[in-house]
Amino acid sequence: MVGPALALFVVMLVVPVGLSLYLSLTDWDGYSANPAFVGLKNYVNLTHSAEAIRAGWVTLLIAAVGTVLLSVFGLGFALLVNGASRLNAFFRIVLFYPHVLSALVVGFLWSAVLGTSGVVNGWLTSKGAEVLPFLSDPKWALASLIAVLVWAGFGVNVVLYLAGLQTVSKDLLEAARIDGATTRQTFFNVTLPALAPVVTVNLVLSLVTLLKTYDLVVSLTGGGPAGSTQTAAYLILWDSFHNNALGFGSAQSVVLMVITAGLALTVARLRARADQGVQA
């Protein structure tokens, strides 16, 4: 019974990761039959690459800010649409809908809204106002990217939190109400602690997803302006295929994989410790 699953695991995960590790130690350009072994040169070059380091920081910023926003908006909207009315059912679909769209479509859609000649700036200029540099200024472009990532992704968080809210003990909520707890007190002392495992899942999933941000960068900002919104995943593909440096790209992907796993494990452990504290 375990055999097919194990074979799939090996083929789809162990082999690619192993080959990635191997390629990261070579100078493979994507074409040559016999790439030369270069040891740790690609990793050393990575530490000297201002562009890769910058992309790493941009990725971490997106992941940190995006994860917090996804959780806050996810939980906030979940609380708003938690209940068995037709209107809530409608809003749940509306909130989840952006996640159904391809990230590429979302990016092109928002570039038409936020671009220099986009809907928003068209309206602003028609009113005699200045154009806002949503996608043309590095800081604005990064903020726009994070905002669109959150818009496109928080539907999943809403669904997860909604599922979590169904598990909150009705008895506890009722007891809090009888004891005269305010809504705020009930939320922070009953609902939120009960949601702790869901919060952990949300944080880890959001973090891992955002650390791999790629599609939306391509379609919304193209990594610009001046490379200011290049993420680690974007740069990996850029270096690998535009620059014919698959060895260097593989080294970057190995580092990204290690960082992602490390951060996800750290968040999960911290949350587990916090959960234990709550239970104690």
Binding site: G30, W238, F241
Partner: protein, 425 residues
């Protein structure tokens, strides 16, 4: 620079796919170092092509139909890229031991050439456009259908008239002066955009003056007798002054190429620097103003017109690993020499070739005149053949030029690109 495929795609899984596939290749046939097998006189020829709004799969299938009809038993199988373009699909296929017989779009460089068939002994290649310039160490790997003129400035003649500009500028000082007049007349002087456009336009503008001042620019750069940033610094400084004076939109980086074209064709801007493929877009748009084109100006004191940046249109190569070598070569020969096939490809993607002028639009004829009058045709950016810069130069240059909009100085940009070049040596 050919319009590189910039369509986003399923790249994220691509690296993993390549990794899996190279493993498969390691277990299987791997790469071929021979010159392919001659093959039969019938059978299947697989051709990997670029797919764009102009060059659809059905267009390609229709293009090769006459070849199939003339060669009974031959089936030309058109293959679209599975990645975001031909450039990232070909390594996948090679790694999987499943390479096509013919590839369109790419040009041979030192990385690609070892995988491609040497066509030097094919007499018919001698009469194809840019074949000599694209050759590598004297060997022909790439043949093309036509040329793309690069150093072109499309302009709004009505705007020029309103601004009191009587003739197209011939040098860069005149160009800058014209920008001032256009701005005073209420026009955006030069339309640009983010994406790949920013860096491309500056390369296109630089071709005539750089090639005049440094006839062996690529050789000087590669032998470290000159630096890219240093030689480009005067133009970077000029561009910086254009941004400062509002001759380009300071928010242009928030525009994509299509948005820039729309702005220019709607009559809001005076000029738009772009390659000859823009002719087809402009002809289809039928702008309400009188649209003209002139060759990119040279530096003051240099002869005008200067050398014209050109790239090969619809380049083809035959893969060395092919099992249908003779049929593949025959197909490529037909694609680049058959009059009807050539005419069709030129018209479909707005390209040019000497002797194929009868179906050109008035704007197209102006471009052909510019090509004919250019004293020399030169490579641009990453280049081709003997005139090449490291892979990735165009993208790095684009990012560096865009940083002029985000507060960097021309000297910063020059230093950045020289530093990048240094890291590639």
């Amino acid at each position: 620079m050919a319009r590189s495929a910039r369509k986003p795609g399923r790249k994220l899984g691509l690296l993993t796919s390549v990794v899996i596939l190279v493993g498969a290749a390691g277990c299987g046939g791997g790469f071929s170092d021979d010159k392919g097998a001659a093959g039969d006189s019938t059978g299947e020829v697989r051709m990997l092509v670029n797919i764009t709004p102009n060059l659809t799969k059905s267009y390609w299938e229709g293009l090769v139909k006459p070849f199939e009809d003339a060669n009974p038993g031959v089936d030309v199988k058109i293959e679209a890229p599975t990645g975001s373009g031909v450039k990232d699909t070909l390594p996948q296929l090679l790694a999987a031991g499943n390479a096509p017989d013919v590839v369109e779009t790419l040009m041979a460089d030192k990385v690609l050439a070892p995988q491609m068939l040497d066509l030097t002994d094919q007499a018919w290649t001698k009469d194809t456009p840019l074949v000599e310039q694209a050759s590598l160490d004297g060997k022909v790997y790439t043949v093309g259908v036509g040329q793309q003129a690069q150093s072109l400035v499309f302009y709004n003649k009505d705007a020029f008239a309103k601004a009191g500009i009587s003739a197209p500028p011939k040098d860069l000082d005149e160009l800058t002066a014209a920008m001032g007049k256009l701005k005073a007349a209420g026009y955006l002087p030069l339309q640009t955009a983010g994406d790949y456009v920013t860096g491309l336009q500056l390369l296109q503008l630089s071709d005539p003056s750089i090639a005049t001042k440094h006839p062996d620019w690529y050789q000087q750069i590669n032998s470290k007798q000159a630096k890219v940033g240093e030689t480009m610094l005067p133009l970077l400084e000029r561009y910086q002054s254009w941004i400062k004076n509002g001759y380009v939109d300071k928010n242009a980086l928030g525009l994509k190429d299509v948005g820039a074209q729309t702005n220019f064709l709607s009559g809001k801007a005076g000029m738009y620097v772009m390659g000859s493929w823009f002719v087809r877009t402009a002809d289809d748009a039928k702008p309400t103003f009188d649209l003209g084109v002139f060759a990119a100006p040279t530096e003051k004191g240099q002869p005008s017109p200067g050398p014209q940046g050109v790239t090969m249109a619809a380049p083809y190569m035959v893969l060395k690993s092919t099992k249908q070598r003779d049929l593949s070569v025959k197909l490529v020969q037909w694609l680049v020499t058959d009059k009807t096939a050539v005419q069709s490809q030129l018209a479909q993607d707005g390209n040019f070739r000497k002797g194929y002028t009868e179906k050109l639009s008035p704007l197209g004829k102006q471009v052909q005149d510019i090509l004919d009058q250019a004293p020399k045709q030169v490579a641009q950016g990453e280049g081709y053949g003997a005139n090449t810069l490291p892979q990735g130069f165009n993208g790095e240059w684009n990012k560096a030029v865009q940083s002029l909009y985000t507060g960097k100085s021309a000297k910063d940009v020059a230093a950045r690109i020289d530093s990048w070049m240094g890291s590639k040596s």
